[in-house]
Amino acid sequence: MEDGGDGEDGGEQTTTNKQQPANKNQQPTNQQPKMQKDAIRQREQRTGWILITPALLVLALVFAYPIVRAFVLSLFTQNLGTELEPVFSGFTNYVRLFGDGRFWQTFGQTAIFTISSILLELVIGMVFALVLNETFRGRGLARTASLIPWALPTAVMGLAWAWIFNDQYGVVNDLLSRVGFIEDPITWLGDPVRAMIALIFADVWKTTPFIAILLLAGLQSIPQDLYEAHKIDGANPVQSFWSITLPLLTPQMLIALLFRFAQAFGIFDLIQVMTGGGPAGRTEMISNYIYATVRRYLDFGYGAALVVVTFLILIAAVAITAFLLSKTRINVTGER
C-alpha cells in the first residue's frame, strides 16, 4: 500500500521539497509520532511473519525439500550398475549430460514444440479474445463453450487426437480424401515432421482457450474511452489495435506466455498418449526422456541431473519474463 503511491508522488515532489524548510521548526514535535509509527510497523511485521509461517512450512516441504533432494541425488550415481545403491560421483552426471545426444535432441524438440505452440496459441488466442470481447447474441455461451477444450483431461483428448490423426481410421485423412486433396492416406503420426505438427495442433487446440480468457480479462480492463479518444483523434480500428490494445495488453501477454512456456516445456501426457515420443524418438520431449531414464532404465542419479538442468532452464525463462514484465509495467502504467 505504502509503495503504491510512489508513482503519484513523482508529480508533487518539487512542492514537497519546497515546503520542507518551513516545517523544520516543527521537527521536535514531529519526532514522537514517527517513533510510534515505527513501533507499530515492527509489531505488524512480526504478526505478518507469524501468519505466513504455516504456508512457508508447507512450501518448504513440498517445494524446497524435493528440489534439494533432486540436486543431491544428481551428484550420485545410482543405477543398475551400482545395484541401485547411491555412489557419490560429483558432477559426472552433468558431464555425461553434455555429451548426451538424446538429451540435446529432446531439448531441441521440446524447444520447437514449446515455441511454435505458444506463439500459435498467442495469435489465435488473441483473435478469440477480440471476438469474445465484442457484444453479440450468445456471447456468454460462446465464452463458456470456448473453455471446454481446456477443461478436458489431456490424456483423454490426446487419445481422441491420436484417433483423429490415425492413418487408417482417422477423421483427418477421411476428410482430406473426400475433398480430394489426397489419394493415399497420410501417416500423420508416423512421420517425424507430421507427428510434431499433429502434437502442436492438439496442444494449440487444448490450451488456446486459456490464453484467450487471460487476454479477454486484459481487454476488459482497458477503458473504453481510450478507444473513443483514439477514434476522435482519427484512428481506425486497426490503428487502435496496434497503438492501444497491444501495448496495454503486454502484461497479460507476457503472463500468458510465461504460464504456457512453463507448461509446454514440461509437456508429458500429450506426447505419451499420442505418439509415445515416436517415431524413432523424434517427438520425444525432455519430460518423456526423464521419465524413461528414471522409470525404464532405473538410472536415478542421471535422471535427477536431467531434472535439475531442466529446472534451471525454466527458472531462467521465468526470471527473464518476470524482468520484462516489471519493465512493461513501468512502460504501461508508469508505476513501479
Binding site: G7, E8, G11, P223, E228, H230, K231, I232, L248, N331
Partner: protein, 363 residues
C-alpha cells in the same frame, strides 16, 4: 465561420430508452454552449452524438450546413475532452498530445512546433516526457486540454472536464478555461451538471431533462426567467423556494397571507409560487409583500445565513438567505420581498406564467 447545428436529434437505444428525444440548436463561432442537467438527462449522449461516437436515430448534426451523420468521428475535425481525460497511459505527455497529428501524417517539424506551442500555452513544457500516471489531477486535465487544442479543431466538445478536480483547483481551472476558449473563437459545447460552471462559463445554457431542452437562454435569463418549475429548481443555490399554493379569488394563499396572482381572471385552483432565498430579506416598512413566521433551522455559510422559516398559519417552509449581521427574532420573524422577484408556474404543466402588467404592480 463555423456553425454547429443540431436538427431534431433523437437517439433511441431501446423502445423505452430514449436519452435524447428531440433536440435542435445551433452554436456559432466563439459561442460557449453548456448542456446542463441532472445525471441521466441525456447531455452526455447528446455530446457523443455530436462527436460521432453514437449514431443518431433521427435528425442531423451539421457543421456549416454540411450533414456529418455519415462522417467518422476522426474526420469531423472536432476535439473532445473526456471526463476521465482518457489519456493513453502508455504514452508520455508529448505522445499523448501529438497522437491526432501523427495519425494524420502531419510532418514532424510541424508536430514539434505545435506541441511546443500548446505546451507553452498550458504550462506543460517540463512535463512532456512524463507518463500520465506521474501527473497530478490538474496536470492530467491540462494534457487532455492540450490534446484538444493542438488539433486546431472546428468545434470543441468537453464532457464534465472539471468534475475530477478538487474544489479549489476547479475554480482556478474554470477561469483558465474561460480565457482559453475566449481566445479560440470556436464553437464550444460543454457538458456539466454543475450550475456554477454553466453560469460562469457559458454564453448560453441549454437546460436538459429527459432528453428535451427545457430552456435555451443566456445564463442570466435562465436565472431570472426560468422557463418552468424544473429549471427554477435546478438552477440557483440554495434552491428556489417552490410552494404549491391554493388559489382563492385572484389570490394565492400561503398560511395567513394572500398574494395577488400573476394574471387576472385565472381559474386554476392551484398555482406554484417560486421565490429565491436570496431575494427574501428581513421586512422593512416599505415592503409590499411580507409574511411572518418562526425560524426552525439556521445554516450559517459565513457570508450569509440560510433561515428555514415556517410561515404563520401554514406548515409550508420558506428559506431565506439573510446577511449574518441582520437582526431578527427567531420566534416571530418578518420577511419581505417584492412582486418582481416572484416566479409563477402552472401547477399542472410546470410552465412559467409571465406576470401580466397587473394593477398590483402599478399600485
Amino acid at each position: 465561420m463555423t456553425t454547429l447545428q443540431l436538427e431534431n436529434l433523437r437517439k433511441q437505444f431501446a423502445p423505452d430508452v430514449i436519452p435524447v428525444k428531440d433536440i435542435s440548436l445551433s452554436v456559432e463561432d466563439g459561442e460557449f454552449l453548456t448542456l446542463l442537467g441532472p445525471s441521466g438527462c441525456g447531455k452526455s449522449t447528446l455530446l457523443r452524438l455530436i462527436a460521432g461516437l453514437e449514431q443518431p436515430t433521427a435528425g442531423a448534426v451539421k457543421i456549416g450546413g454540411n450533414v456529418l451523420n455519415d462522417i467518422a468521428p476522426g474526420d469531423r475535425n472536432m476535439a473532445m475532452v473526456f471526463q476521465s481525460y482518457a489519456l493513453y497511459p502508455h504514452m508520455n505527455v508529448s505522445e499523448n498530445i501529438s497522437t491526432s497529428l501523427r495519425l494524420k501524417n502531419v510532418p514532424q517539424e510541424e508536430i514539434k512546433r505545435r506541441i511546443a506551442n500548446v505546451s507553452e500555452k498550458l504550462g506543460l513544457g517540463h512535463l512532456l516526457n512524463r507518463k500520465p500516471s506521474a501527473l497530478s489531477g490538474g496536470q492530467r486535465q491540462r494534457v487532455a486540454l492540450a490534446r484538444a487544442l493542438v488539433r486546431d479543431p472546428e468545434v470543441f466538445l468537453l464532457d464534465e472536464p472539471l468534475s475530477n478536480l478538487d474544489a479549489l483547483l476547479r475554480e482556478q481551472v474554470r477561469q483558465e478555461l474561460k480565457e482559453l476558449f475566449k481566445s479560440q473563437n470556436k464553437p464550444v459545447v460543454y457538458v456539466t451538471h454543475d450550475q456554477t460552471e454553466a453560469m460562469t462559463l457559458s454564453s448560453k445554457v441549454a437546460v436538459l431533462l429527459d432528453g428535451i431542452i427545457q430552456q435555451l437562454d443566456p445564463p442570466r435569463r435562465i436565472y431570472t426567467h426560468p422557463a418552468n418549475k424544473f429549471v427554477a429548481g435546478f438552477v440557483g443555490s440554495p434552491q428556489m423556494n417552490l410552494l404549491t399554493l391554493n388559489c382563492n379569488q385572484n389570490k394565492a394563499i400561503l398560511g395567513d397571507y394572500g398574494f395577488p396572482l400573476p394574471q387576472k381572471g385565472q381559474s386554476a385552483k392551484m398555482i406554484d409560487m417560486g421565490l429565491r432565498p436570496e431575494d427574501i430579506h428581513i421586512a422593512t416598512p416599505e415592503d409590499e409583500l411580507t409574511v411572518e413566521g418562526h425560524v426552525f433551522l439556521e445554516e450559517n455559510f459565513g457570508r450569509e445565513v440560510l433561515l428555514s422559516v415556517k410561515v404563520k398559519g401554514s406548515d409550508q417552509t420558506l428559506r431565506a438567505l439573510i446577511p449574518p449581521d441582520d437582526e431578527w427574532d427567531n420566534e416571530n420573524i418578518k420577511l419581505g420581498w417584492s412582486h418582481r422577484q416572484m416566479h409563477w408556474f402552472d401547477a399542472q404543466s410546470g410552465e412559467r406564467i409571465e406576470a401580466a402588467d397587473s394593477p398590483v404592480l402599478a399600485s
